[in-house]
């Protein structure tokens, strides 16, 4: 595996991009956009994280295996969160209430 030497200029460009993105996401935080706040904030976070992973962590120049490991980890986290939400988000969907539940199952008396 060749260790790619990334020029410091690239690092500085990435750094300034990250700063700008941080500024944007903070500025957006001062406005109420309803559910778009979350979407924008997470989208920007994903962009920032991608830049760090590709350039600071050199994944852009690494072989297939480190990429597989990183993507695999992220995908696995998505499975954990996603399948847990399959339960949590569908709790209120049961056709017949079970009697001993009030509204949502988290607010037990």
């Amino acid at each position: 595996m060749k260790h790619h030497v990334i020029h410091p200029l690239t690092y500085f460009l990435v750094f300034f991009t990250l700063l700008i993105l941080t500024g944007v996401t903070t500025a957006v935080g001062f406005y109420d956009l309803g559910r778009w706040n979350t979407v924008v904030a997470l989208a920007i976070a994903v962009c920032k994280a991608t830049l760090v992973v590709l350039f600071f962590m050199h994944l852009r120049y690494s072989g297939a295996l480190p990429r597989l490991v990183m993507l695999g980890g992220l995908f696995w986290l998505a499975l954990l969160i996603g399948l847990t939400l399959v339960d949590n988000l569908t709790r209120g969907w049961d056709p017949a209430p079970r009697g001993w539940e009030t509204t949502s199952s988290a607010q037990r008396p």
Partner: protein, 544 residues
């Protein structure tokens, strides 16, 4: 390739190998040789097996009578908790990976050691430290939450030593993570020339798949224990409904690891099984790539089914259906393996050595445990048998009838390589049979008990269940004796057993091409691999 060897190919001056190259406690406690570390693990997990086994003996003795109590109910809670925690975290999960895996992975791929030998030693020390915390908890009065630590009992209401036990399990988790990391890197980067992925022994595929589970699953157990500890220490509300928390969140996080954990326990056993079946039927494995890929499939699919432990806990009906379907799916790769092992046996030249007896027992018992798992995947059946002895029988068939039998089979099979000695075959076959009989007598009645409704974790039961319980306890006594016999003769053989040659079984595999016991660097020269795994000569059809 060597055929069945006559003993004593070495000169009369004893050869230097990994056991006699250095003597003294320091040379063992500071070793970085994967083979010595494997033996350190062997001693430690045997110790914990005895502790977990003692708890089991007390449980079974208490259950001899329907209402007579050998111990207080509160103590009974502690007994089954300790039995589960010690057996799962300190015996089963490390057993094959940390003992046989550590010993064999470098040998089987033609390497001199694992990728990170010092991390390997650290992994053992971490295991010991975790074990000491748990041992402290046991001695100080035990923990009564069950091995499953469900909140809010564990985080709020239990008065037992939850923190110490949780800390012990948390710490030991890092031992698994380090071992898994070591194996993955070693298998990727340190295979000998010519050892392509599809020439690897199936044991290595199994170790690789197990390591993937170590990496992706164990950290989630870690964080769920951290949350229990935080909730307990600071009265936070992560899982406490009174403070807005959801107890099911704990169960989701806990089972996200603990279901794949059972695949951590069985995949290595399946790897051992592939080695035993091929050697003792003198035949190539049927469907090598299917068996290899099914290991990965089990590891990956095994992560998608965890909420089948929660069908009656309050998950939504839709989640129940999703997880039920996924749980059926995970039975497919396991079945693939069973079919392939059976097909390997077909027209093989079978010899009934002790390892093979364990191996054949494995196929039957694992299959029984496995199909009862399919019963449990069914929502309707699970509602009926959840938290009964049916579940207990199911998982003991797999973990004991499956994993422990394979572990013992593997220990016997590789004993000549590990110790340089042969164990007494007669005693070994005898104990294999005792274990098989004792096991079935212990756990088969439990299927019936559970189906009839006897709940688990109860110190008393209705009188009509007594006969089956007595049978089960009788079986447990026989099983216990069956386990003690190998302990004795294996230790005996280290001193008095006949000296073993490098390949007493005439098996394929790089580990058999070096001396028994191997030198510290494993091979005189790095081997070059030119043939497939299990390259036993094709047999001509014998005329009867």
């Amino acid at each position: 390739m060597s055929t069945v060897s006559v003993e004593d190919p070495e000169r009369s001056e004893s050869p230097v190998h990994y056991l006699n190259i250095h003597y003294g406690v320091k040379s063992w406690l500071l070793t970085t040789d994967h083979k010595r570390i494997a033996l350190l693990y062997l001693a430690s997990i045997t110790f914990f097996f005895l502790i977990g086994g003692t708890a089991a003996v007390l449980i079974r003795m208490n259950l001899l009578t329907p209402t007579g109590l050998l111990v207080e109910p509160a103590t009974y809670n502690k007994l089954f908790s300790i039995h589960g925690i010690v057996m799962v975290f300190f015996f089963l999960i490390p057993s094959i990976p940390a003992v046989l895996g550590n010993f064999l992975v470098p040998l089987m791929i033609g390497a001199r050691d694992l990728a990170f030998p010092k991390l390997n030693l650290l992994s053992w020390y971490v295991y010991i430290v975790g074990g000491m915390f748990t041992l402290y908890a046991v001695i100080a009065g035990g923990v009564d939450t069950g091995w499953t630590f469900y909140a809010p009992y564990s985080s709020t209401y239990s008065n037992s030593h939850v923190m110490a036990t949780a800390l012990g399990v948390f710490i030991t988790g890092f031992s698994s993570i380090l071992t898994g990391l070591n194996f993955i890197v070693t298998i990727h980067k340190m295979r000998a020339p010519g050892m392509t992925w599809f020439r690897l022994p199936l044991f290595i595929w199994a170790m690789y798949a197990t390591s993937v589970i170590f990496i992706l699953g164990t950290p989630v157990l870690g964080i769920s224990i951290v949350l229990i500890a935080l909730e307990r220490a600071f009265h936070l509300g992560f899982f406490n409904p009174a403070l807005g928390g959801d107890p099911l969140l704990f169960q989701h996080l806990f089972w996200f690891y603990s279901h794949p954990a059972v695949y951590i326990m069985i995949l290595p056993a399946m790897g051992v099984e592939s080695e035993l079946i091929t050697c003792f039927s003198r035949k190539r494995i049927f469907g090598y790539s299917f068996v290899a890929m099914s290991s990965l499939a089990i590891a990956l699919l095994g992560f998608l089914v965890w909420a089948h432990h929660m069908f009656v806990a309050g998950v939504s009906m839709y989640a129940g259906m999703v997880f039920s379907i996924l749980s059926y799916l995970v039975g497919v790769p396991s079945s693939v393996k069973v079919f392939n092992w059976t097909a390997t046996l077909y027209k093989g030249s079978i010899s009934y050595s002790a390892p093979m007896l364990y191996g054949m027992g494995f196929i039957g018992l694992f299959s029984m445990g496995g199909v009862t798992g399919m019963f449990l995947a069914s929502l309707g059946m699970d509602v009926h048998v959840h938290d009964t002895y049916f579940v207990i029988a199911h998982f003991h068939y797999i973990m004991v009838g499956g994993a422990v039998m394979a572990y013992l089979g593997g220990i016997h099979y590789w004993w000549p390589k590990i110790s340089g000695r042969l164990y007494p075959e007669g005693w070994a076959r005898f104990s294999a049979l005792v274990i098989f009989l004792g096991f079935n007598l212990t756990f088969f009645p439990q299927y019936i008990l559970g189906y009839l409704g006897m709940p688990r974790r109860y110190p008393v039961y209705p009188p009509e269940f007594q006969v089956l319980n007595v049978m089960s306890t009788a079986g447990a006594s026989i099983l216990g004796i069956g386990y003690l016999i190998p302990l004795i003769y294996l230790i005996w053989s280290m001193r008095y057993g006949p000296v073993a040659s490098s390949n007493p079984w005439g098996a394929t595999g790089l580990e058999w091409k070096t001396a028994s016991p191997p030198p510290t660097e494993n091979f005189e020269e790095t081997p070059v691999v030119t043939e497939e795994a299990y390259a036993y000569p094709s047999r001509e059809v014998k005329v009867a």
